[in-house]
Symmetry: C2
C-alpha cells in the first residue's frame, strides 16, 4: 500500500498555521497551505476539514476566508491529530476468516487483537508526547 501520509499532511498544515500566526498572519487559505505542502488545495481542505471536526482548527467562510488554529500549538498533540485524521492502524487481522475448526484458526484473532492493542497503545503514548509546537521548533532548526 502507499505509505499513509495523512498524519504528515495534517501536521505540516498545523505547523504552517502556527508559524503564520506567530508572524501575525492569523488566517491562511487552503491554497496558501497547499503551496507549502506542494499539493492540491482540495487535499488540504479534506485534511483541515478532519481537523475542524476534531476542534483543532477553525474556518471562516466568505471573502477573506481561511483557516486558523483553534488552540495554542503547545496544547495540540500528534495523538489528537492522529485520531482526527483516522489513519489506518498499523496491523490488520486476516482478510478472510481463518478456519474455525482448527484450534489456531479459532483462537488466534482475539489473541492477536490483544497484542495489536498493546502495540497501538504504545504508539499512542509516544504520539501524545509531541505537540505541534515541538514539531515546529524541530522544523525550524533544520
Amino acid at each position: 500500500m502507499a505509505a499513509n501520509s495523512r498524519l504528515t499532511i495534517a501536521t505540516h498544515a498545523l505547523a504552517w498555521l502556527a508559524l503564520a500566526r506567530r508572524r501575525g498572519q492569523e488566517v491562511l487559505t487552503s491554497e496558501q497551505v497547499a503551496a507549502s505542502v506542494n499539493t492540491n488545495p482540495v487535499i488540504i481542505r479534506r485534511s483541515l476539514g478532519d481537523l475542524r471536526r476534531a476542534g483543532l482548527v477553525e474556518v471562516r467562510h466568505g471573502a477573506g476566508a481561511g483557516w486558523s488554529l483553534a488552540r495554542e500549538p503547545e496544547g495540540i498533540t500528534l495523538l489528537e491529530v492522529y485520531d482526527a485524521v483516522d489513519a489506518q492502524p498499523p496491523f490488520g487481522l486476516h482478510r478472510t476468516e481463518p478456519n474455525l475448526e482448527c484450534p489456531v484458526g479459532h483462537g488466534i484473532r482475539p489473541a492477536l487483537s490483544g497484542v495489536y492493542g498493546r502495540v497501538e497503545q504504545a504508539m499512542r503514548r509516544e504520539l501524545a508526547e509531541t505537540s505541534i509546537a515541538d514539531v515546529l521548533r524541530e522544523t525550524l532548526v533544520n
Copy 2:
C-alpha cells in the same frame, strides 16, 4: 490501503507449526498451513519464504517436503517476525517533496522523521515482548 495482514498471516503460520510440533508432527506442507489460515498455499509459501530467509523456519524439498520451526517458539518474538515480513511502517512522509522555500516545507521532514522513529521504536519494544509461544498460549484459551 488495505490493512496490512502480513504479520498476522506469518504469526498464524508459526503458531500452527508450534502446535503441530507439540503434537508430534514436525513438518507441515504449505497446503496444510493454508487450510488453517484459509487462504491460498502460494500466499503461505511467500510468507514462510520470508521467515526462512530470516532464519525462523526451515524447509525441506522433494517428496515428504514441508516446513518446520527452526527455533523454539519461546525464543521467536513478534519483532523478529515483523522484521522478517517487512510490513510497511505506520506513517509515511510526503509523497511529493514539499516546497523547500517555505521554512516549514524545508525542515518538516527531518522533524517528522525523528517523531516517527520514536513511535516505531515504541512499537518495536512492545512487539519484542511477545513470543510465538505467548501467542499460542493466548490462542488456545479462546
